[in-house]
Each structure stands twice: as C-alpha cells, then as structure tokens.
Symmetry: C2
Subunit: 417 residues, 2 copies
Amino acid sequence: MGYDFLHRLRVIESSAFIAAPLAGLTLSQFGADVIRVDTIGGGIDYGRMPRMPQPGGKGRSLYWTALNKGKRSVAIDLRKPEGRELMQALATAPGPDAGVLLTNIGTPWLAHEVLARRRADMISCTIQGNGDGSTAVDYTVNCATGYPAITGGGSVARPVNHVMPGWDIACAYQAAFAVVAAVGHRRSTGTGAELKLALSDMAFTMLSHLGVLAEAELLQQERPSIGNHLYGAFGRDFGTADGGRIMVAAISAGQWKALVACCGIADAVVAVQQSMGLDFADEAQRFDGRDAIAALVEPWFAARGQADAEAALEQHKVCWGRYSTVGELLARDRRVTLDNPVFERMVTPGIGEHLSAGSAVRAPAMQRSPTEPAALLGTHTDEVLWEVLGLDAGAVGRLHDAGTVAGPERDPSVATA
Amino acid sequence: MGYDFLHRLRVIESSAFIAAPLAGLTLSQFGADVIRVDTIGGGIDYGRMPRMPQPGGKGRSLYWTALNKGKRSVAIDLRKPEGRELMQALATAPGPDAGVLLTNIGTPWLAHEVLARRRADMISCTIQGNGDGSTAVDYTVNCATGYPAITGGGSVARPVNHVMPGWDIACAYQAAFAVVAAVGHRRSTGTGAELKLALSDMAFTMLSHLGVLAEAELLQQERPSIGNHLYGAFGRDFGTADGGRIMVAAISAGQWKALVACCGIADAVVAVQQSMGLDFADEAQRFDGRDAIAALVEPWFAARGQADAEAALEQHKVCWGRYSTVGELLARDRRVTLDNPVFERMVTPGIGEHLSAGSAVRAPAMQRSPTEPAALLGTHTDEVLWEVLGLDAGAVGRLHDAGTVAGPERDPSVATA
C-alpha cells in the first residue's frame, strides 16, 4: 500500500491502459481501498505486452500487473444488465468514505448523471482521449504538441516520438489529485463532483504552463531542434574513452562553475567568451554558446574512462547522470535496490518474485506498508460483494451460477477453457 | 484559479524550475491560496528562456510567468536572518487552512523539523533530485531510465533525450496529490506530515509501475529500439502525398479493425497473416508483424493529401493524430482555442495578452474562475504581511526601509538599477 493518508477511502475503478489504472494505483499507495472491477476474463489490455511466457499467449502481463498492484479485484460480466447493476451498486454504495468512481471507459451506464441518481454526492473521475469524448492515446496526442518535431534532431517531416508515456503519466497524477481534492470538498460541503480529464487537454494545457504556447504566440518562434542539447542553458551528453555515455547539465550558476572547474576549462571559457562576445554567467548566453562550450568539454570526457569521469564529476558536484539500459540500471544503480525504501520485493501470482516500487513519496514519520501484488482477476469478488453490498453466500453463489460474477478460477492465466 | 475545491487552503511556496512551481500551480487551480516567496530580484530561474525582448536581458520569462500564474508574490531578502524569520513565520502561521510549505530548495532553515518546532502539525513537501538530497534534474535522471537508449532508434552509445520534461511534470502532480492527501489526513487526525519526493524516485518507481523493471529482471530482456513504432501493438507515423505526417495507433481490436477498413487492406492483411503464421487479432502478433503491416498502410497515405487522409481516418474512427509544430497547433487546432473551456485569454504584466490554460480538469457542475496572471515579484508583499502575520503599515514600512522586503518596484523587469 504505502501510507495510510486516505483511511480506506473506497474507490471503484473500471479502466484500461495507463492513465486511469495509474491514478488508482496512486490512490491505493496513499491508503485508498481501490477495487478494480473487470469483466470476466479481463479487459482489453489484460494481456498487453510484455507477458510471461505461457502456451497460447495466456501468460500474465508484466505491464498490467504492475499498474494494478495494491488493488482488490472483482470479476463481473459487464455485458449483462445484472452485471452492470452490480457495478453501479458498488460505485454508489453508501458511506462517507465511498461513492468514488475512477474510469476511462466512457460508457453510458456509468455516466455521472446515472450514478448521481443513486447517490447524490457521487464523485466520478473520467479520463478521456479528447474533451469531446473522441478517442486519443498518448501517441496521437504527443504528435500534436510539437515535441516530436524537436526531439532527437527531428522535424515535422521526420518526427521522433517519445517512448516514455508522459501524457498518460501526467493524467494519472492529475486525476488522483482531483479525486482527493473532491473528496475533501465533499467532506466539507456534502456535495459530490463530476470530474473529466482529457489526455489532449493535459498535453495542451502543459504547453501553456511551460510557456511554450505563449512563446509561439507572442514571439512567433518555434523551439529549435537541437538534439541532446538542453534548451535555455548548457547541457548535453558526452562519450567517454571506454564507450560510456554521460549527461551533464549546467543550468544554475553553481552547476556551471562546477562543470568548468571539473573539466579544467576556465581559461578556455574566458577566451571563448571574449571571442564570441558572450558572458556565460548568463544561462541564456551559455545556450547561445552551447556548441563552443561542448567543444571544450568533449575532449575531457574522451580522455578518460567512465569510472574516472564519474568520480571527478562527483567530486566537483557537477550535475550529471549515466546513460543506461534498464538491465544496466538494475545491475548497477543503488537507487533501484532495496537500499532505497521506495522499493520492495513482491511475489505476483502467475509471475513470481521481483523488485517492485511503492509510492515515490517518502513520509519519514509515517509507517510504510508493503504493496499487495496484482491478484488474479476476481480474487476478491465474494468478499467485496459481501462487504460492500451485503450479499450473503447464497446470493453470491447464485451470481456465480448464473455466470454474472466469477472468482480467480476464470482468470485467463489459470482457466482451462 | 479554476475550481474552488480547496477553499483557500494556504500554501507557501519557495521554489525554482518546473516540478515545485507546477505543483503549486496545480494546487492554485483547485482553489488554494498559493503564496510564492521569492528573494528580492528573483530566484535562479526568474529569467529562464524564453524571455521577452528587453535591453539587458531583463525581459520577463515566458517560462517562469507561465508556471507561476495563479499565485500571489512576496519578495523577501532571504539572505538576511530577519528575512528567513519572516519566511518561517509565513509557513507556520496558525489556522486550520494554513501551515503548508511546498519547496524544492533544501535549505536547513526551512527543514521540516525546524518548522514543526513552530507549528507541530506542519505539512511540508520537499521535492529533491535524489533521495539522499543530491542534485539531479530531468535530463540527468532520464538518461538512467533506459528510455533515451530506445527513443528515435537510439542506443546507449547514441541516446536520444526527450524534450518534454516528463519526470518534472510527474513529480509536480504527485506532489500536489500528496499535499492534498496530507491536508485531509490532518483535518481528520490533527497530525501534520513531512513529505519528500525525489525526481529519480519518480522515474524509477514509474519503471516499476509500467512493468519495465520486472521485464528486465524476470524476462532478462530490454525493450527494442524501434523508432516511431509503438511497443506491444501496431502504431507508427506515415507521410502523406503533400508532405504531411500522421500518427496512427491500432492498440485495441476496434482500432485495428478501423485502420484495416479505412486503408482497404483487409485482403492483404489476410494474406500477410497466412504467410507469416500470425493472427493480427492479437495485439502482440500485430507487434511482431509491424513492419509488414506498415508496408501495407504506407501506400494508402502516400497516395493522398493530408486533408483527404484525415477525413477518411475520421470517417472510419481510426485513432490518429497530426504532427505539428507549436505554431501550427495554435493556428489550426480547435482544441487549443477559446472554444475549449480549459483555455482563456490572459494579460501578464511585462508580457502582454496571450492564450493561457487553467486546470486541465473539467468539473461541469462547478464554477470555473479565471486565472490571475503571474504578478511582478513582490506585488503582494504588503497585503500578505498584513493578512497572514498581522503586520501593520508601520511595521511593513520599516521592513521595506531595511531592505528586508520589497514590492513590485524591485522586479528586475521594471527596476531602474
């Protein structure tokens, strides 16, 4: 779980892909009781790559199980009216710490006004592609932001997509924030809230918040496409003698002084400043002189191995980072080990034991609980129907018999079709 | 502002760069009274590019003013003990809706234990580079995640940095979420919270939440470097006859059917599936056959202009997006106009009138208020010292005379030095 800030606030989640599940995970990491309702057999991304190797492609997804740890799982046949009725009943069940729905599945029978008829102070948060309800995913939003046209030296004609699903991630945390703010507001005022968040709005509003829109409108200029140089100050990647690759950033005055001292280029910097008529104490002029500065820094890295370079960078308190693959990160970076309290070991059913993260937030004075692994679909069906809806064993048994609900035996990774 | 979910919760912000200011902006968009305290003349990123053209490089920053709209501004000489005392007093002032500090400036005199001595139920949220307090920025964290090694067809030896500051953005919303959760917890229990959030933890925990760490650990495999292809299903960018560029994604079964129908490639797809022994109904097998699928889709785009292609994609409900620069986005995309309620026109002092965004969240039943532009530094010094600390005109005047506080006349963009 993580920390008990939210006191078992109950959140019913009906979701797929990254943004909504990650929002639910975030809520669970702060103590919410997040109950994920899936259709029997799983939703459209239950088998998304990468999957565990298993005949018939039925191995569990490392992606899905990672995003859906820390939650309880209920399996319901959501095509049936009785299944939809159960889902609505779970979402709108009474209690001050209940009545919250998190979803990215814009289906009419889960619309806010439908649920608010059953529970007037309902809080629903719906993540959408576009604000008009039309579909969009991270890739089809990002292409419009201008970023691919300036990533990796690209252009509109030869754009470079990012791989990190950045807009999905932003949406997730924005949604979790909105839900918790609305819950606090409901506690004070008694009123619920309908919250909608479109992936494209997330991206385009961010272009405003970073000044990118105003730059285009007022200065009529596009950000330059400058490869791995950072914008607005000095920073770039450099290769070491033994094939390593290191990123350095000299954004603040202190970072710049540290880099100059570490590379022993103070005199050369003075000479370059004089010849170019620039003052590199000003970050914007460092940016103007970036190629000349890089030419001074390059030989320093090229003359030594990665370990020596890193030791010197550390000693001089340069702001730097090592490029690595994920395997190298796991093998060599102490920040991604149990030495870091945000990590733990987890045993996920159908997958095995592996390193896993809790909340990135550290709250030193609070107890940090371990995270429950992603259960097989339907593992908590019976207990949730009893706890939340008061259905006794007989009623739950009849729902199983009718095929309206299911337990973990119907999870695709264990079901014998 | 946006929406009044947080009822003027008072947050004192002492920050620079993206993550902490964006967290403060997010809180302000939901109704918090965010009071930004800057040292007189501004902090280290007050002049960060892009800036308005003005002699001496003193034009206001479009970046800084974008991240710091919706807040009040107090200017204090934070090098002086009396200035630090004022800052501590502001952060720890009494009241159930006060006592919240948001910062990324890890200075001892703003440490949680120092503030908690003055206010036992203090909530502080400190954004760090690394969990040990050492420096890191988005660029020096991202290089370690493995993403640059698989972006744009790159490798560890030839990495491609992203341009979107994705980890900073994630940190911002995660921090805003944590603050609001801690405020709710304090209302219930009376206890404060020390919250710490490291940029590198944000990135590395995300690798866990997306299944990337488990993949490397359990399957011993790295994600392939596949350019603009999306991972795990089918999606890529395509060029039109007139030089346009369009991203298409066929992740769900419905999106795949729509693409096949739109491009009229049903028969060819059957033939390719047979020859490759694949079933493209399975997203993972679409991924395996991505080059063959792309070869079928490519001629369809190459045979028509962008407008015709877009009309057909819309008609068939394909999931698609247009590549654009920021200027093109502003000129041609209705989602980035006043037709979209998340946008508004704003007049920022020293900058002029421009399009600006409020919260990306839509709450249809709540009133949405306009956002205040980023004021000149110190605009609210006097009113905040009166409102929060009860200092009368005489006391405030003496602080001005001693140079301990300042009003907007000392903002670098207007000061005559």
